[in-house]
C-alpha cells in the first residue's frame, strides 16, 4: 500500500515539503512506516525517537497496524507556553 504522510513544523522544514508518500507491505505497523521513512529521508532520521505519529487524527502507538487510506501525520513535540510552577511546589 502507498500512504501519504503529512509533516508539520520542524519536520516539514527539515524535509522542505509538507507531505511525503511511502510504500509499505500489507500488514505494516506504525514502527515500519517510521523505519521506512527514516531510510528514505535522511533528515528525518535524527528525529525518529522524538515525534509522535497520528493515524486518522489520533496519536497512534508504534504497534498500531496501518491500512490503505489511513491519514498519517508526523507530529513533533507540541509547542506552547509553559504552565508555570504548580501551586504549592517548592520554590
Amino acid at each position: 500500500m502507498e500512504l501519504e504522510v503529512r509533516l508539520f513544523a520542524g519536520l516539514r522544514e527539515a524535509l522542505g515539503r509538507d507531505k511525503v508518500s511511502v510504500r509499505l507491505p500489507e500488514g505494516a505497523r506504525v514502527a515500519d512506516l517510521v523505519a521506512q521513512l527514516a531510510r528514505e529521508h535522511a533528515p528525518l532520521a535524527p528525529h525518529v525517537g522524538r515525534f509522535a505519529v497520528a493515524v486518522n487524527l489520533a496519536v497512534a502507538s508504534r504497534e498500531q497496524g496501518l491500512r490503505a487510506g489511513d491519514e498519517v501525520a508526523l507530529l513533533p513535540p507540541v509547542g506552547g507556553g509553559a504552565p508555570g510552577r504548580p501551586e504549592g511546589a517548592p520554590r
Binding site: 508539520f8 487524527l57 501525520a73 513533533p76 509547542g79 506552547g80 509553559a82
Partner: protein, 144 residues
Amino acid sequence: MNADDRLELTRAPIDVGALYAWATHAGAGGVALFSGTARDVHEGQSVLSLEYEAYDEMALASFRELARATRARVPDLKKLAIVHRLGPVPIGEASVVVVASCPHRAEAFLACRFAIDELKKSAPIWKKEKLGEGGERWVENKPS
C-alpha cells in the same frame, strides 16, 4: 458538537471582547477568561514575533475532545470557547483564548484552567519564535 461550545482556529486577530460577550449566560454568575499572549522573551532570549502552525483537522478534533473532558469535569459549565490563532502573532497579541462561564467563579476558574492546560499538552499546534539576535526556532512544550 455542543451548541454552547465555540471551538475555532483563526488566522485573524482574536476578538477577546467578542468571545467574552458570547460566553455570558443568564445562568452564569462567573466568566473566567484566559488569554495567552505572545511574549517578547523566552529563556533569556529576546523574541521578535511568534508564528503558530497547526494540523488543523486534528487540532479541532482535540478541541472537541477537550470540551467533552472539560464538561465531564465541570458539569455546570455553561459556555466554553477555545480559540487559537495561527500564522504570525505580533508580541502582545493573543495567540489563544479560553473562556468558560459557570454559575459560580470557582467552577469557572477550574474549567478555564483545565481546558488551557490540556490544550497545551495535547493539541497539535506548534510555535516558532523569531529571535532578536537572528534566527528562529521551534519551541517545545515544557513538562512543568
